[in-house]
């Protein structure tokens, strides 16, 4: 028996958490909002999700084969990217936009930089920016209003932007998702539910969502007053962004302090874009900008090492 013993370095036990299980948790957390999107926007929504996920998984497989890397589609990270990308599209978007976005997200944003964990931008958000730059007419107008089934070009945030606050839907509709918007962002309450599930499971920490949403709330309260506060919080992509995009491991800081800086920054940028920028909504660009700052945050915000005075290196 002797030569069959494995003599590896300690530790000799591992916990049963895996990348795949973490990604599966995110998928589970996104399901309620997915169901709501089908309810509000019909089969168009599920078609976009299926196209987007399929394109993401196939692209990942193809890239890894082509680059001679181990195929990792079973870690489900491409599925998550595909779902998040589709969630960022209006139901009127053609299917090929979902496919193009997924190919861009996986091939250019993720695989070119080394695959999972090496991307410096959130793939789904970068792909959304790519689509916005390429086919903005297809996705920035033409939101379906689930209440009337008519095409409307105005989401609640557009109404605020254009000074049409009088047409704003009720807060109850905002919470439930009975408002125009991209397919995954409308139902604030179900996104919060998914986010709480992720926090409860320990998949994500509470810090980024709470601080991000809190920062937006404070700025909204100061600039637009209490009457528009809830529209700023529940409107647009804030819930989707705060719980599911800004918490992306690879593109957000690893330390708790770093997470706070990241979330405050994203909150400020979001409100800056909403209030002063050209777009009605700023969640995706603000997260992308903070993604770029993340390596720097991780470099300068480090935990204080036990027994090391002032966190500085011991002179030997």
């Amino acid at each position: 028996m002797d030569n069959k013993l494995i003599a590896s370095s300690s530790p000799h036990i591992r916990n049963d958490e895996t990348t795949q299980k973490l990604m599966l948790d995110v998928i589970i957390a996104l399901l309620p909002a997915l169901v709501a999107s089908i309810f509000y926007f019909g089969t168009k929504s599920i078609i976009l999700v299926v196209c987007s996920v399929a394109a993401a998984v196939i692209t990942e497989y193809a890239c890894e084969k082509f680059m001679g890397r181990p195929v990792t589609v079973t870690d489900l990270s491409a599925v998550v990217t595909g779902m998040l990308l589709a969630f960022n599209l209006p139901s009127t978007a053609p299917w090929w936009i979902a496919v193009a976005g997924s190919v861009f997200a996986i091939a250019i944003v993720k695989q070119v930089f080394g695959g999972l964990g090496f991307n410096f931008l959130n793939p789904a958000l970068a792909a959304r920016a790519f689509i916005m730059a390429s086919w903005s007419s297809h996705i920035a107008s033409g939101f379906i209003d689930p209440a009337t089934d008519a095409v409307s070009s105005a989401t609640p945030l557009t109404m605020i932007k254009t000074g049409a606050a009088g047409q704003l839907p009720s807060i109850a509709d905002m919470l439930m998702g009975n408002i125009p918007g991209v397919i995954g962002e409308t139902s604030a309450i179900l996104l919060i539910l998914g986010g709480i599930y992720l926090i409860y499971r320990g998949t994500i920490k509470w810090i980024i969502p709470v601080v991000y949403i809190g920062t937006v709330a404070v700025i909204a309260l100061v600039t637009d007053g209490a009457s528009l506060l809830l529209y700023h919080i529940f409107g647009g992509g804030l819930m989707l962004g705060a719980f599911f995009m800004a918490t992306d491991y690879a593109t957000s800081p690893v330390t708790d302090k770093g997470k706070v800086i990241f979330a405050v920054g994203a909150g400020i940028l979001t409100m800056l874009i909403r209030k002063m920028g050209g777009y009605p909504e700023g969640v995706s660009y603000s997260i992308l900008l903070m993604n770029i700052l993340t390596p720097m945050i991780d470099k300068y915000v480090q935990p204080k090492v036990f027994g090391v005075a002032g966190g500085k290196k011991n002179e030997k």
Binding site: D2, I13, L116, V254, F306
Partner: protein, 443 residues
């Protein structure tokens, strides 16, 4: 009494797996026919043999000694004849000079083995000498010579003794059983060490998942001035020296420093009880409690084993292997050392013999780091394991040093929690070794 639980920052919660043996009383192991006693079972200078091949020896007889301060003698655990003095593999993975003694089955005790009297009557110097001559080295696994720890330089005054009964390694229950079954030896040992150190404050730190041990030790120390039990939160590595000091006293041992820099000495329960036994009976360290456990052992047990007994003999007494073993470990699953053979002797630092089955021994396939930060949260030293590991793989040891790789205590918590199953601790250990070697060269 305080209900506050002491703990530290960071750490992980591996399954404790202690139910296999925690209620199994310590049992005397079957007397070995042959023992292989390494002349080096401690950190420091190895011993020179005091006997020659063909000599007869008795139980407790000193068979190896070194003139160096940083060394402790070794004693025979059986009576019989010295058959060979030869190189043999020992549980730390290296080869060491070992004395092979064939037992005559009589277990005749050597004349030098005599009770040492009461602690009250012994002087500080006498206690230190008894501890050194008794062959004492830290039995928690690190095997640092005990008398060296108890002889701090004049400029490092010690005021607190901490007895480490955390036993935070999964599976291991040896210290737990010692506290339950031999609390009076623990107390005797505590008093002896406090005398040797000249301190009047002693804490016995025990994780709260051993309520019976906490209760018994509390009863035992009742009325003993300056000695109290400190219940600890159940968290790995609660029993790490610097963590337990921080948990109980709030003091922070500086990077690269020893506990004495903050006035503390930490001794493991097994070590303390053995010191108690040496004072009570005069018998040096020739036997220790070993937890034999794991999925591939037929009947997991806590055995009182003679030093030099082979792992194979010990496992046979536990009904042998239940299934084909995949991994054989000296110590616990988090920090223990995997063996490539069961023909190695039990040594002073063997707190456990753990046998994992094939499935558990399978090494997981690592995948990309997803930067989840779980290793950063788990690190009890507040390092960034993923970064150090990455720099190590790139052979960028300067960067690894900048991120304090040398402060790693190699607890394995980072690797344990990594969802990508990356060998974090395994690579950081490489960096630590390299960095410490470089520092030595510079000096």
């Amino acid at each position: 009494m305080s209900t506050k639980l002491f703990t530290f920052k960071g750490g992980v919660h591996p399954p404790t797996s202690k139910t296999l043996t925690q209620d199994v009383p310590i049992e005397d192991a079957v007397e070995p026919k042959t023992v292989v006693i390494p002349l080096s079972q401690h950190i420091g200078a190895p011993c020179d043999p005091l006997i020659a091949v063909g000599d007869t020896v008795k139980v407790g007889q000193k068979i190896g000694e070194s003139k160096a301060f940083m060394s402790v003698p070794v004693h025979s655990s059986v009576s019989g004849t010295v058959k060979r003095i030869e190189q043999h593999y020992i549980p730390n993975g290296s080869k060491a000079n070992c004395v092979v003694i064939e037992s005559d089955g009589k277990f005749e005790v050597h004349e030098s083995v005599r009770p040492k009297g009461t602690v009250e009557k012994l002087t500080k110097e006498e206690v230190l000498s008894i501890i050194k001559e008794g062959g004492m080295a830290g039995m928690g696994g690190a095997t640092f010579p005990t008398h060296v720890k108890l002889s701090p330089p004049k400029d490092k005054p010690i005021d607190i003794l901490i007895v480490n009964g955390a036993e935070c390694e999964p599976y291991l229950t040896a210290d737990h059983r010692i506290m339950l079954e031999k609390p009076e030896l623990v107390l005797l040992g505590v008093k002896a060490i406090m005398k040797a150190l000249g301190v009047n404050k002693g804490y016995i730190g025990i994780e709260k998942n051993k309520p019976d041990a906490i209760e018994i030790m509390q009863k035992t120390v009742e009325g003993q001035e300056g000695i109290e039990v400190a219940p600890l939160e159940v968290k790995y590595p609660q029993g790490d020296e610097k963590r337990i000091i921080n948990a109980i006293t709030g003091r922070i041992v500086p990077s690269g420093g020893l506990p004495m820099e903050v006035g503390c000495v930490v001794e493991n329960v097994g070590t303390v009880a053995t010191i108690g036994n040496i004072i009570k009976t005069g018998m040096p360290l020739i036997q220790r409690v070993v937890t034999v456990s794991g999925s591939a052992v037929q009947n997991p047990k806590n055995l009182y084993v003679r030093i030099g007994t082979s792992f194979k003999d010990v496992i046979e007494q536990c009904g042998g292997y239940k299934e084909e073993p995949g991994k054989l470990i000296n110590g616990g699953p988090m920090m223990g050392i995997a063996q490539f053979s069961d023909e190695v002797p039990v040594v002073k630092g063997t707190s456990g013999i753990l046998v994992l089955n094939k499935k558990e021994a399978d090494l997981p396939e690592p995948s990309n780091c997803i930067l989840c930060g779980r290793c950063v949260d788990a690190c009890p030293v507040q390092l960034m394991p993923y970064k150090i590991s990455r720099y190590t793989i790139q052979k960028n040891f300067d960067a690894a040093d900048e991120y304090h790789a040398a402060d790693c205590i190699e607890c394995g918590g980072c690797s344990f929690v990594c969802p990508a199953k990356r060998p974090l601790k395994e690579t950081i250990s490489v960096a630590k070794k390299e960095i410490l070697a470089r520092r030595k060269k510079v000096k």
